[in-house]
């Protein structure tokens, strides 16, 4: 009944709007649409067009993908990106979780430690790269330190690392840089957890591990999901640190290849095609990874709910 009276009020009580007032919202929103059309949609469309046309401008469904698959270091780029994404996300995530749990406890010096732990966040990727590069060279600060404390007798050679070892090095540097940002998200999640929720579980007989597993972790789940997606996307798009510390082509990644074709060999005809195709592939991978992760983690929630 209330519905019908509501409708009556809207047709009887309010005078019919003029056609002008009806388009006002669209007029007001138009600048945003235009902005997106010009600066986002247009480049995306032209990029996609590049991916599906050959050098002569004729349509080709898989031609450029074939070109990419046969190009130098394609397999390495795919494998390295996959390895990087999996290892770095797991490593950074576990490290951040431990740090977050430790630092959200109240103890003397917790604030100072938190401050120190967040320093890497404030350093730009370029500076990070320089910091580590100066450390990793033969007479860099890492070798100097190790020699000083007599942990090694001969300087270690880091920069000659190749293949997986080189990727591992990039992973470690990346971990140093981004762990704090994951940690912050988790600490924010932990702060949303009331102390009494843990205490309640404790009084009902849960031990420390059960409290963590049954109470803390599930309540943290939304922040965990957010931080993992963010890290996953960033990990798939890794390139700056790899290039700045190791140089081009030493640790090939998907996005590193894009930069390579745009930056290093821009003159070659196929470079543009390859760069666009790599971009397209990376976008698809990021989308897929996100969708799959969301599906999996959502299923976990539902299952947990049903089980109990």
């Amino acid at each position: 009944m209330s519905k019908s009276t509501g409708q009556a009020a809207s047709t009887v009580g309010i005078p019919k709007k003029s056609s002008f007032s009806r388009i006002i919202p669209y007029v007001l929103l138009a600048p945003v649409f235009i902005y997106y059309a010009v600066f986002w949609l247009l480049p995306v469309v032209s990029g996609v067009k590049e991916v599906f046309t050959d050098l002569n401008g004729d349509f080709t469904l898989v031609g450029n993908f074939k070109l990419m698959a046969e190009s130098d270091l394609f397999n390495e780029a795919v494998m390295n990106t996959a390895a990087f994404a999996v290892i770095s996300v797991i490593l950074q995530y576990l490290l951040a979780l431990v740090l977050a749990v430790l630092l959200s406890r109240k103890f003397k010096g917790a604030k100072l430690l938190m401050f120190v732990a967040m320093i890497p966040m404030a350093i730009t990727p370029t500076a990070t790269a320089i910091l580590w590069k100066t450390g990793l060279v033969r007479d860099g600060w890492i070798n100097t330190l190790l020699l000083q404390f007599h942990l090694i007798s001969e300087p270690l050679v880091f920069m000659n690392a190749e293949g997986f070892k080189a990727v591992l090095m990039v992973i470690l540097i990346d971990t140093w840089t981004v762990t704090p940002s994951v940690m912050i998200i988790l600490i924010a999640g932990l702060q949303g957890l009331q102390r009494e929720m843990k205490e309640a579980a404790y009084t009902f007989g849960a031990n420390k591990w059960q409290i963590f597993k049954d109470i803390v972790l599930p309540i943290l789940k939304p922040s965990i999901t957010t931080s993992i997606i963010m890290r996953l996307i960033a990990a798939i798009q890794v390139w700056a640190i790899a290039v700045m510390v190791m140089g081009y082509s030493k640790t090939p990644f998907l996005v590193e290849r894009i930069a390579f074709y745009v930056d290093v060999v821009p003159g070659v005809d196929t470079s543009t095609k390859l760069a666009f195709t790599y971009s397209f592939l990376t976008t698809i991978v990021v989308l897929l990874a996100t969708v799959v992760y969301l599906k999996v983690s959502h299923k976990g929630v539902q299952k947990g709910g049903e089980q109990a």
């Binding site: 009331q194 009494e196 929720m197 009084t203 007989g205 849960a206 049954d214 947990g304 109990a308």
Partner: protein, 367 residues
Amino acid sequence: MSYLEIRNLQKKYTKNGPMIVNNMNLSIEKGEFIVFLGPSGCGKTTTIRMISGLEEVTGGDICIEGESILAKKPKERGVSMIFQSYAIWPHMTVFDNIAYPLKLQNVPREEIRRRVETAAAATDIQGLLKRYPAQMSGGQRQRVAVSRAIVVEPKLFLMDEPLSNLDAKLRVSMRTELKNIHNKLGATSIFVTHDQAEAMSLADRIVVMYKGNIEQIGTPMEVYQDSATRFVAEFIGTPPTNFFMTSIERTEEGVQAVGDGFCYQVPVGLTDTLLPYAGRKIEMGVRPEYIEISPGLDRTEGYLTDVDIRFVEPQGSHSILIAKVGATEIKIHTTKYMDIAAGSRVSLNVKEGRVMFFDCDTGKRVK
């Protein structure tokens, strides 16, 4: 031997810090509803947390059924706690919230189901078992917390200000319901609050605490009508007891308490007790409803003085009158002269047998 015995219980958080709970002694019988009442920082929550096992004990002992529980973990103590913030877990359904304590005890599935349903029925939330806490109101969440506390069939219910997050109306109906559940289960409960109305309406006995000490243990009527200390007389009752600084003087007509702007004839029953205070200061207290006013300026045995009524605050069922005796502002609770006009001159007479005297140094009642 009482059901719960607290002996010389002490708590300090730091070695040289203040005593948060100072040599507390208390015996509770099975089936009692005990309320710890006091202002924040009086040690009431700390005490309940020591009983639950969430807080270490600095000294003394706590026994349930004659057995010390200090060395036991919370779950072995047979207590269950209801928290101020409800502390129900947001990622679990109502069913799971109530079932979790039983799962921790490895109770068989079928029994869990049966016991959860019984506990949910006791608080009238059978229909909400599949919901998540975010889909419920504050009152419903508190019912979940109560069900969860019931389901483990504890020896002792500990409630830490469980109603203070609810709105005023719900608080009143929920407290009746808590008392009802307590009675139905035949439970033994300790309830912590700073709200004296809540304490009065729930408790079999109230433990009034202040600065880590027990000021008085007694039924709601006892602590109100027969307050043991100045603090209790002031803390319990709205408006609080009126206090007058007086000095005890011996005159030809007997013993008098002489204050700023009045001279009160001490009742015969109290003269012997007050004589040792002759020539010294002593504080006199009278509850607002025991000061009777007489617009006809009649004087009785308990005559204080004549005053002008300064303000009248009608409350519907009664009125609060505000006046000044000397420099002291006093409040009078009247149901007889609710329509009296501000500015009226009246006589004040203390109702027979309703005067209280408190030692100025110790704050203790002199009687």
